[in-house]
């Protein structure tokens, strides 16, 4: 395979001057891109850089405003995903386009020729999934499957159409390190068969590990094309954000103070069949400490956060203590009044009301804990708009929240900017305990680094911080101590400097899987070395 020769060899797909306008805003601006046969090509960029818009145009979901797409030397118009598939383009979406109410085979059938019978599709899917190491039961309902299994459906679905180019949008964001290794093996198999892969990710390490070439987008324009193996994560990040990402600073070994939040043998039964029960969770977090809780999604993180924040108070009052006071049965506002702050996982609909202004969202969160500052008139609770507006302004300046107007709707902010606001809303109170769930989920590198720095600074100023995260890079960046949650059990905390990525990965997968993980890891290395 002539991978390293790059676009000089007749490209499979080449894009010239591709532009997409939404009103007067150019989501993609004169983009050039070449993908050679049999290469894994990375598409890098911050959120809002235009990656999704670009691949949607390549897959026929959106129509370009200007520019040309050339497929195997022929200029083409891709009017619909169906046409894209007929050309030989397959796509695995970031947010799975699966139908929960349908079975695996029915989901796959929807994107295939209607003349093929459902039973034949089941057989072929089973065969393919075995061949590529992606086990699947065609008769299972999607609603009953895990996120990793759902992704396999998407991949098998794309493969059944025998595509020449497969587009993967942030495929590893939902996988354990071991599951990701498995996916990389599949990708190397595809590459060995001469298929091309367009790999969208903001995980720079991954891109450096598996991709042959990378195209970097920023503000809808191509800012660089490179061989990622020749670059460092820092140099790639620089291309993505335009300037050096501020490295997160920390001075190790600050003395820890008193215990701020303490959990003793907390057990919570599962509220729904899909929830995870918490089993004997214990932890202590001291002033000045950042305890990071690692784990793969769906192992009890949400349930732990709900118990800690008081969104669902627990039966045993003594199980949770904030600043020495038993608060297990106390609600969110009671815990806030003790000086705790909480940042839940979902930005829209949980941490913020999308259709309301930032100032309203500030008041909603802090109307009880900052009653004196924001409400006047005693029992009448008259809202003091001036105080709230100035607090909103203060938060936006402190966290560098970029917004379209003075006080826009929360929903109009990009994910990263809204997350900065939500974290800033809590930091503004100088909480003595802060609990954050997935602080930089789907946030661009610049905003993520700003948020992580803010969390470290808060701990340094003498607060206790609990960070629940799936992002191991983030965990190593911020943590004093690291614990791992798996199937509702929390491990002992370990000092961050004594742990490696591999060891955490094993803890995350749960102990019973450790054997197969070891096998996978060696397999992935073999595939990587070829």
């Amino acid at each position: 395979m002539t991978l390293s020769e790059g676009p000089v060899a007749a490209p499979l797909l080449s894009v010239r001057g591709l532009t997409k306008l939404f009103g007067s805003f150019a989501a993609c601006n004169a983009i050039d891109l070449d993908i050679a046969p049999g290469e894994i090509h990375a598409l890098l960029g911050e959120n809002g850089a235009g990656k999704s818009t670009l691949v949607k145009m390549l897959f026929g979901v959106l129509q370009p405003s200007a520019g040309q797409i050339v497929w195997q030397g022929q200029p083409v118009t891709i009017g619909s995903p169906g046409e894209a598939r007929n050309l030989g383009v397959g796509m695995v979406f970031q947010h799975f386009s699966l139908f929960e109410a349908l079975t695996v085979a029915e989901n796959i059938a929807l994107s295939l020729d209607p003349r093929i019978s459902l039973s034949k599709i089941s057989d072929e899917a089973a065969t393919l999934s075995k061949a590529y190491g992606l086990p699947l039961d065609p008769k299972a309902h999607v609603a009953d499957l895990s996120v990793g299994e759902r992704q396999r459906i998407e991949i098998v679905r794309a493969l059944l159409q025998n595509p020449k180019l497969i587009i993967l949008d942030e495929p590893t964001s939902v996988l354990t390190p071991q599951e990701a290794d498995r996916l990389f093996e599949t990708l190397f198999k595809l590459k060995a068969e001469g298929r091309s892969v367009l790999y969208i990710s903001h995980r720079l390490e991954e891109v450096r590990r598996i991709c042959d070439r990378a195209t970097v987008l920023r503000h809808g324009k191509v800012t660089g094309a490179c061989d990622p193996k020749q670059e460092t994560p820092a140099s790639l990040a620089r291309m993505m954000v335009g300037s050096d990402v501020a490295e997160v600073l920390r001075d190790g070994g600050a003395a820890l103070g008193d215990i701020r939040i303490e959990v003793n043998n907390l057990s919570v039964t599962a509220r729904t069949p899909f929830a995870v029960a918490l089993k004997n969770v214990s932890m202590k977090v001291r002033a000045g400490e950042v305890l990071a809780i690692a784990g793969v999604a769906g192992n009890g993180q949400g349930e732990l956060f709900d118990a800690l924040s008081g969104e669902y108070p627990v039966a045993e009052d003594e199980a949770i203590r904030i600043r020495g006071k038993a608060v297990g049965r106390t609600g969110i506002n009671g815990r806030r009044l003790l000086g705790a702050g909480f940042v839940p996982e979902e930005r829209h609909g949980h941490a913020a009301v999308s259709a309301m202004a930032l100032s309203d969202n500030l008041l909603l969160a802090r109307s009880q804990s900052d009653k004196k500052a924001f409400l006047a008139g005693g029992a009448f609770s008259v809202i003091r708009f001036d105080a709230i507006r100035s607090a909103t302004k203060r938060i936006c300046e402190a966290m560098d929240v970029r917004k379209s107007g003075e006080d826009p709707q929360a929903g109009s902010l990009s994910g990263g900017n809204l997350q900065k606001f939500i974290v800033g809303r809590e930091l503004d109170r100088q909480p003595s305990v802060l609990i954050v769930n997935q602080p930089t989920w789907g946030v661009d590198a610049g905003a993520a680094s700003r948020i992580r720095q803010a969390l470290i600074d808060l701990a340094r100023s003498g607060s206790a911080v609990v960070v629940i995260s799936q992002d191991l890079d983030e965990i190593f960046e911020v943590a004093t101590n690291i614990a791992v949650i798996s199937e509702g059990r929390l491990s002992e905390p370990h000092p961050a400097e004594t742990l490696t990525l591999e060891r955490i990965g094993l803890l995350m997968g749960g102990i019973h899987e450790s054997q197969s993980i070891a096998e996978n890891a060696s397999g992935a290395e073999a595939a990587h070395a070829h």
Partner: protein, 304 residues
């Protein structure tokens, strides 16, 4: 005696089953059309008027179907093309239908109707007891059974039905797969309208062959409740339709026998039953996920 009661139960249940089946298809595509009552009464008046003018109840039946479908097209245009709120539009459709049909049917009030005659199927109708009940019925009864079988096959065996269920579950993903969401929904809405029209025609040509204002008398609402009661499954619509039909008839006979059950209580029974079913199905998240069209009532705007 028992045979006579059974025959009246069938006549009372058939319009419920037909209208509910149409709404089931509409809702499976993700559209909530609360205008069943309005489409039904439009079907009833169109069928009656056409029968009066042509003398043929079969042409009247076709006119009822066409009337319901045409009326549903108005709903489709407002909610699918102009993306108006489906609940409000559906309610408006019912109010408009009731008013408009009263206006159109004014000249037919009190005129004797022409009844759709039963079609007696030879041999089968000679089977003792069941033969007379099941095989000497009018066309609408046969159609209602055929619709149950046909819709069940369409939804769960045909690829087009699979696409429709996919749209109802997640219209964004369906669009991304290249399925034409709006066109499918237009067709589903019109099918729902046609069925409601047919159900209305049954009222003015079979059930009570005459024109009376508001003669649908809330059956459209029962049909809506029936769809939820059946958790969007055609065979359960048939079963539920007969259950609700039997309750309606039972209520009349109970009164005749002087059994002291308040009629209001009995007419509320379908709705009470629906609430119980809703509680049961919402208790099991898995069955809800698999049966309820997840994008029901949500507007769809392709991002183009």
């Amino acid at each position: 005696m028992f045979e006579a009661i059974l025959l009246t139960v069938i006549t009372a249940s058939t319009p419920l089953v037909i209208a509910a089946l149409g709404e089931l298809v509409t809702e499976r595509s993700g559209v909530l059309n609360l205008g069943v009552e309005g489409m039904m009464i439009m079907g009833a008046v169109c069928a009656f008027a056409t029968t009066q003018m042509t003398g043929s109840p079969y042409i009247g039946l076709l006119a009822g179907i066409a009337g319901g479908a045409a009326f549903s097209l108005l709903f489709g245009f407002l909610t699918l093309t102009l993306v108006a709120n489906q609940v409000a539009t559906g309610l408006a459709l019912t109010i408009l239908g009731l008013g408009l049909s009263g206006q159109l049917g004014e000249m037919f009030v009190g005129k004797p109707g022409i009844k759709l005659q039963p079609i007696v199927i030879p041999l089968l109708s000679d089977i003792p007891f069941f033969g007379r009940v099941l095989f000497a019925q009018d066309l609408t009864f046969y159609l209602s059974v055929a619709l149950v079988i046909g819709i069940n096959w369409f939804l769960f065996k045909s690829r087009t039905g699979l696409k429709m269920r996919a749209i109802g579950d997640n219209h964004g993903s369906a669009h991304a797969l290249g399925i034409n969401v709006i066109r499918t929904r237009y067709l589903a809405v019109m099918f729902g309208g046609a069925c409601a029209g047919l159900a209305g025609a049954q009222l003015s040509l079979v059930y009570t062959p005459q024109w009376v204002e508001n003669m649908s008398a809330g059956r459209g609402w029962i049909a809506l409740a029936l769809v939820v009661f059946a958790s969007w499954r055609p065979w359960r619509v048939l079963a539920g339709g007969y259950l609700f039909g039997a309750v309606t008839i039972g209520q009349l006979h109970a009164q005749a026998f002087g059994i002291g059950v308040p009629s209001q209580l009995l007419s509320a029974l379908p709705y009470a039953a629906t609430i119980v079913v809703l509680i049961i199905i919402s208790h099991n998240r898995r069955t809800t996920l698999i049966n309820t069209p997840a994008s029901l009532g949500k507007p769809f705007v392709p991002d183009r």
